[in-house]
């Protein structure tokens, strides 16, 4: 549990660094913190699973892998934030600190053993995100996104808490293992337990934007500054899925027959809503928001199956999805900055990529690989993500869901290819974009990771 301690303390250090006149130190310092935390996270990789902080938090390879993904994603995203420092009104120190603090929440969500920790983790993460979403204070879109996110997020928290309270009432404990013990011991659990579980699940499903609780997602992702959209769509989602997985597998696998159908229906709705609505979008950023809903659907598919493959499937899927999303948004931020000069309206639309392939072959390539990975084309990491998820569903015999999921992934390819077509097949007046060497390095790194995992996806072996 070193990461939690380190992130809290070093986050404060970064905050105090902000008092200095020169802001140039902030980015390297934050990156250094994240690198340290990443190493610290894997220090105990070979240890036995263990409980920490009076049985409040749990740590095993699965939670470490998830924390690793989250911290690594944060590292990549922070590395792409060079723009902050130039902006007069921006408060880089606060942003970086909030990002570090929110990671504390994410790590707690991933490793919770007690529902109290789940609640605290979710709130740390969410409250930081409310602020970051509204960080572009003069921009009405950012304002609106922040308020929507805040109101709905708080509402969902209320639902979730009510669920937790009922669970407590039914089982007498907030501890995952104790709840599991209660569920196993009682053949016919009370209605209170069922309602509690469902409401808790609904609150968490809201955070990962599953239909019909997904409506906030496109608006919030669209309105937030792109860098924080990236943050939300990767880290919040990854941590959310880890938490749901821990909850379901840790306590409620015994009453699988009770909740699986509900989750199955939600999964299908999520897949349909995300993929189909994405087709119509003209804004790339908004398309990515819907696409993140659809990816939530695939991850839910694996959770619905809940076989012994599911664990590694969602680890892999989250990683593949996060990396590809980060590189796609990385390219978008560069391009939007360039086209935004000419017309604000077009900055985040598909048209912004027109002619990218001619003038900026590297960016076009990075974009292509990330789109292929999100679409699940073979030899990218995304393909294996889908493959593992689908095969876990096949294992459980959820053929009808599999059919829908594969159909929807076909639809997905259509809208992801729109970006590739814009980049290569359309003419545009985009000029060569200057990319700083560091930024370029990060983009190349994400691309290489995607391709390497596409070729050799077997790093999961140790996890199962």
């Amino acid at each position: 549990m070193l990461p939690i301690v380190l992130l809290s303390i070093l986050g404060l250090v970064v905050l105090f660094l902000g008092f200095q006149k020169s802001k140039n130190l902030l980015l390297p310092a934050t990156l250094l913190v994240l690198a340290i935390v990443l190493v610290a996270n894997f220090l105990h990789w070979n240890d036995m699973p263990s409980l920490y902080f009076k049985n409040m938090l749990f740590e095993n390879k699965f939670t470490m892998a998830f924390s690793g993904i989250v911290i690594f994603s944060a590292f990549l995203i922070v590395a792409l934030t060079r723009g902050f420092v130039d902006d007069e009104s921006a408060q880089p120190a606060e942003y970086y600190t909030l990002m570090l603090f929110s990671l504390v929440g994410a790590v707690m969500m991933i490793g919770f053993e007690n529902l109290i920790m789940l609640f605290v983790g979710i709130e740390i993460l969410s409250v930081s995100m409310f602020i970051l979403t509204g960080s572009d204070k003069k921009n009405l879109r950012s304002n609106e996104a922040a308020l929507k996110y805040f109101l709905m997020g708080a509402f969902a928290t209320g639902i979730m808490l009510f669920g937790m309270a009922l669970l407590y009432g039914a089982t007498g404990s907030f501890n995952l293992t104790a709840i599991k013990g209660y569920v196993m011991a009682n053949n016919a659990p009370s209605a209170m337990l069922y309602v509690g579980l469902l409401m808790l699940l609904i609150g968490m499903l809201f955070k990962v934007s599953a239909a019909p609780f997904h409506f906030w997602t496109p608006d919030v992702y669209d309105g937030a500054p792109t860098i924080f959209t990236t943050y939300m769509s990767t880290i919040v989602k990854t941590a959310g899925f880890a938490a749901i997985y821990r909850l379901l597998s840790g306590s409620f696998s015994g009453i699988y027959s009770f909740w699986w159908m509900t989750l199955a229906v939600i999964t299908v709705l999520t897949l349909l809503a995300g993929n189909i609505t994405a087709v119509y979008q003209t804004s790339f950023k908004r398309m990515m928001a819907y696409s993140s809903i659809s990816h939530a659907g695939y991850l839910l598919l694996s959770l619905t199956a809940l076989t012994n493959q599911s664990q590694s499937a969602i680890v892999f899927y989250s990683l593949a999805y996060s990396i590809a999303t980060i590189s796609a948004f990385g390219v978008l931020m560069l391009v939007a900055k360039e086209t935004g000069v000419h017309s604000y309206e077009n900055a985040e639309r598909f048209e912004a990529f027109n002619g990218l392939g001619k003038k900026n072959p590297l960016l076009a390539f990075v974009l292509t690989v990330s789109m292929l990975s999100l679409a699940g084309i073979p030899l990218t990491a995304g393909f294996w993500g889908k493959f593992f998820v689908f095969s876990s569903a096949a294992d459980r015999g959820l053929t009808w869901m599999l059919v829908i999921a594969i159909l929807m992934s076909t639809v997905g390819i259509y809208y992801y290819f729109k970006a590739i077509i814009a980049a290569y097949m359309r003419e545009g007046e985009l000029s060569a974009i200057k990319v700083s060497p560091f930024y370029r390095l990060i983009l190349i790194a994400t691309t290489i990771i995607t391709l390497v995992f596409g070729l050799m996806p077997d790093f999961l072996k140790g996890l199962v």
């Binding site: 709905m152 409506f215 509900t262 599999l402 059919v403 594969i406 076909t410 639809v411 077997d458």
Partner: protein, 636 residues
């Protein structure tokens, strides 16, 4: 032979792709073509080595354990056996020739390096497809070749019409892939493995009876994949549209290799298919239907590449027909001979188009024989071969298929024969109109007419030799041959014979075989004579689209027999052709594009739910909660 050499076969094209792809602005033009062709030739050379070193037993060469999740382990391994060796020879051999040809054909193109990069990438995926030792590697190759085909169809048409053709190809292939992927997951679920040898061993161990539901479902799903990739009804209309790509691409991808992936897959899974005669029936039926529909559409096409495209669809149908009656060897035999003569036809057509300054309409050609002698003679050989004239390669492969179909079902045989008559007719129509008679193009074109450079004609000549002599591979007993291909491939089908011996029974009398051969050659000759009469004797030129009604007028001549033909053969045929054409092009496109439209329409509606009103969002959420609670607590 050192087995690690095998990995060089796909690796060489991949290296070629990387060199040409990453440095395509920096690699000089002269070098790009050489690198691309050398990669392909290198792969061919190693394939020959592998062929020589092959000892008769399937050899699985594992590079590393690729993935293991739960009980499922998927190694990254190649399987070298009779089938993959044959496919290797075809893919790398024909592929190399087409690479060399492209050095001449694409010489003036600005995207020369990019083109070779894509060709090499295609070759890489195609080799993965045929060499992989399990269904997952096959699927990766399967998707990869689709992607390359998509990239290459759009190689030229950057702006116009591209979207529709590419989207069609895309959607149809995706529908196919959906089936294939589902099939793979069902295989995983049923057999717990994706390795060919394990799956087939488990399938044949007696736990599955013939027409077991699971096996029938798996094979049917896999066949849906094959329908998409190999352009069978109803997923065939993308292939003619794919002709928008450069001609060497049509030759390589849309004639010789990629489109035969479906046939390869069925032969590879022959144990499963033999266990599911019900699926085989569907395969044969769809193959036959495709063959006859596509051939009849080919009768009245005027674009030289479109004729060849429909002909390809029709020949693929033939191959599936062969698979449908369990004649796996014959299908493979036809894959090979077809690869030779169809690649030759496309390359010849490319040579013609090259000489005609990118003219593709045969009505504007004519008399090219004198200007393009090499192209003409090679094209002529290929035309004879595809028409099934003794003793060219097409005769043997086609005859073998027809003989097997005859054992199976005489009516199907009749339709097959009729199809081959149509094939002979439209091919000779193409030949006569293009190469004989007066030149009908513009003055500029006439001035510009020239035989193609050696890089283009040499591959033509080599392919012509192969098209002529390819039949030697598998001369039937009846003609004193040894059926060497059948013997070579026999081990592949041992398990099939074990699980379903009925499928392989049935022998024809030698005399029957002679008669069948005579009939099919006779029929082909008859339709060639008919074509000759029409296009050489009367010098008929296919009418311009708006004058189609004038066509009978031209035919109206002193021979009563013409009117007889007109009434009994030509008119109904044209009606049928038109009808099938509209069936294919409109109905199917309607369904396919309609699916796309439907999704777009739904998308337009669904997105309106996203009103932007927080109140509505909360309402939807509360409603969701209420429904979930009510459903779980009250209804259960």
């Amino acid at each position: 032979m050192n087995s690690s050499l095998l990995f060089l076969i796909p690796l060489l094209p991949l290296i070629g792709f990387i060199i040409n792809g990453i440095g395509f602005r920096h690699v000089p033009k002269s070098l790009a073509g050489v690198i691309g062709s050398a990669a392909s030739l290198g792969a061919f050379a190693i394939s020959i080595l592998a062929w020589n070193a092959f000892e008769g037993q399937p050899q699985v060469v594992k590079l590393f354990d690729w993935i293991s999740i739960g009980q499922l382990t998927i190694p990254f391994a190649f399987q070298i056996d009779q089938l993959s060796l044959l496919m290797l020879m075809v893919v790398t051999g024909v592929g190399s020739l087409i690479h060399i040809y492209s050095m001449g054909y694409m010489h003036h193109d600005e995207g020369f390096g990019k083109f070779f990069a894509f060709l090499n990438l295609f070759l890489f995926f195609m080799l993965l497809l045929v060499m992989g030792s399990n269904y997952v590697i096959m699927f990766i190759g399967w998707e990869g070749v689709g992607l390359c085909s998509y990239l290459l169809i759009g190689f030229w048409n950057k702006v116009t019409n591209y979207n529709n053709a590419a989207r069609k190809a895309f959607i149809m292939n995706r529908i196919g892939d959906l089936g294939f992927l589902l099939g793979i997951f069902m295989i995983i679920q049923t057999f717990g493995s994706v390795e060919y040898l394990e799956v087939f061993a488990k399938a044949a161990n007696g736990s599955f009876s013939i027409n077991d539901t699971v096996i029938v479902t798996i094979t049917a799903l896999l066949f849906v994949g094959a329908m998409g990739k190999s352009a069978q009804i109803p997923l065939y209309t993308w292939l003619p549209d794919a002709m928008a790509g450069p001609t060497p691409v049509s030759a390589l991808i849309h004639a010789a290799t990629m489109v035969t992936a479906g046939i390869y897959m069925v032969i590879r899974s022959n144990v499963l298919y033999s266990l599911a005669p019900a699926t085989l029936g569907v395969v044969g039926g769809i193959g036959l239907l495709t063959a006859v529909v596509a051939a009849s559409i080919g009768l009245y096409q005027n674009d030289i590449k479109k004729v060849l495209a429909y002909s390809t669809v029709s020949q693929l149908g033939y191959m599936f027909l062969a698979l449908g009656v369990g004649a796996y060897t014959s299908a493979m035999f036809h894959v090979m001979t077809h690869a030779f003569f169809k690649a030759l036809l496309f390359l010849g057509a490319g040579s013609v188009i090259h000489a005609m300054s990118d003219e593709q309409d045969i009505r504007n050609m004519g008399g090219l024989r004198k200007h393009l002698p090499v192209t003409f003679w090679t094209f002529f050989v290929a035309t004879l071969a595809i028409s099934g004239i003794f003793p060219l390669s097409g005769f043997f492969s086609k005859d073998e298929i027809l003989a097997h179909v005859f054992e199976h079902n005489q009516i199907m045989w009749g339709i097959g024969l009729f199809t081959s008559m149509m094939t002979a007719f439209y091919m000779f129509r193409l030949l006569f109109v293009t190469f004989f008679g007066e030149f009908r193009g513009t003055h500029d074109q006439k001035h510009h007419l020239h035989e193609s450079p050696a890089t283009m004609t040499i591959p033509l000549i080599i392919l012509a030799v192969l098209s002529a002599a390819g039949g030697l591979l598998n001369i039937p007993h009846v003609l004193g041959g040894g059926e060497s291909l059948a013997h070579f491939m026999a081990p592949l089908f041992e398990l099939s014979k074990q699980v379903n011996p009925d499928l392989f029974e049935g022998h024809l009398e030698h005399s029957t075989e002679y008669i069948l051969m005579g009939v099919s050659v006779g029929a082909a000759v008859l339709s060639i004579l008919f074509a000759y009469n029409l296009f050489m004797g009367k010098k008929v030129v296919p009418a311009a689209d708006k004058d189609v009604t004038g066509f009978p007028k031209v035919l109206q001549n002193k021979y009563y027999v013409d009117e007889f033909y007109e009434a009994v053969f030509v008119n109904p045929m044209r009606k049928l052709s038109d009808l099938l054409y509209s069936f294919g092009e409109f109905l199917i496109d309607l369904v396919v594009n309609g699916t796309g439209r439907l999704v777009q329409f739904l998308s337009g509606r669904l997105r309106l739910l996203q009103t932007g009103e927080t109140g509505f969002y909360v309402f939807a959420m509360v409603l969701g909660i209420l429904v979930i609670l009510a459903w779980n607590l009250l209804l259960k």
